[in-house]
Amino acid sequence: MTGTREDGLRRGSRTEPPRSLDGDQEALLPELVAHLREHRTKLREQWVSRIREETLLQAMTSQEMSAETTSVYDNYVEVLETGSVAALQQYARDLSERIIPRGVETHEVVGIVLLLRDVLARSLFEKYQRDFGMLNRVLDAYEPAANRIANTVAVSFVDERERVIRQQQDSIRELSTPVLPVRERLLILPIIGVLDRERARQLTVQLLGAIRTHRAKVVVIDITGVPGMDETVANHLVQTVDASRLMGASVIITGLSPDIAQTLVTIGVDLSKMATIGDLQGGLEEAERMLGYATARPDGAPAP
């Protein structure tokens, strides 16, 4: 109640002499920083015990915890002092890089920074509890800086995590569409897992490129491990088969699940041009037959 009234009052006064308040804040920050430096050990211990209470950062040993909390604390105070978050940003990124592989979650990182904010705010309350006006001004100086710090740390952590995720996505993508030459002029593409649009696109690029480099005549695409596909992907697959035919390679698709068979029939793609065989074994046998046949009559198959 008092706070809001005070707030309203101050907001009124802020419009009139804004400089005086800024000056006020500038004078207050060094005092604040000095206070936080002075009680560094005590406050840090309070913070660590709060973290323990909330059972955050359990992946860390107590040694690590003490080292990290010290650096976070010092960085925190430094940001309050200089107002520049650049160093903190760098530190937060490094920290994230170290702790993300150990399974530290976003809520934990945000949680500990907010705890530190609260611990420090409490100590300010304690120090200035006699003088409400002073306390309000100190909090005015402290809160925006503290919020900015919490924001910076959270954003850095999320950024770092996204970077890791992107990296993993890239490597998964590379691994997801292997094109294997089994015999002279025969390629197989085993596909395992859900075929989304991006992966289907990747598959086309890889397959058409491989047909060229391996001079493939027959390609067996095995989709036994694909649980399902939507219409777009199914159409894409049919287009890939057509494009392969234009490059002079016949495609045999094996291992269509009942679901996928139903999808293909429901969307009404032209199935006459698609050679499908029940399982990979049958597909390879057919491919070998075609290749053996091909010495006498190459490319005999695509006649519609």
Binding site: A243, R297, P298, D299, G300
Partner: protein, 139 residues
């Protein structure tokens, strides 16, 4: 020179856009650069004319130099294949680039009965095999 008598003055001034070479009973037509619609038409006329004059049994059209094939080009190639068949020759289109192949399919351009092969060598193998197989019933 190889583009024959029907080549007009317009094409002789610049670098050769396409060439048509004879190898036994097979004509090998290579497109060297992207052709516009009128150049494609001239290509078709020259090629179909040469099929009759050289009494060709097979035609190979090499499009490896093209990185864009539009619907007109697709239609022209299909037209050449049909006309060649009427004049007694089989056509194989070779050297379609991976990107081009996918674009042709994606844009739903109808390749119809167009026979394709990976490259010149494959095309020649195909022609040798099919010519051998088809001579029996044909005559």
């Amino acid at each position: 020179m190889t583009t024959g008598a029907t080549t007009s003055g317009a094409t002789t001034s610049g670098p050769r856009l396409f060439s048509i070479l004879r190898q036994g009973s097979i004509l090998i037509a290579s497109i060297h650069t992207a052709l516009d619609d009128s150049q494609l038409e001239r290509f078709r006329e020259d090629l179909v004319d040469r099929i009759g004059r050289d009494r060709a049994k097979g035609v190979i059209i090499d499009v490896a130099a093209l990185d864009v094939v539009d619907s007109f080009a697709t239609r022209t190639l299909r037209g050449i294949a049909d006309m060649a068949r009427l004049r007694g020759a089989r056509t194989v289109v070779v050297g379609i680039q991976p990107d081009v192949a996918f674009v042709i399919v994606q844009l739903g351009m109808d390749t119809g009965s167009l026979v394709t092969a990976l490259d010149l060598e494959e095309g020649l193998t195909h022609l040798a095999a099919t010519a051998g197989a088809s001579i029996g019933p044909a005559r």
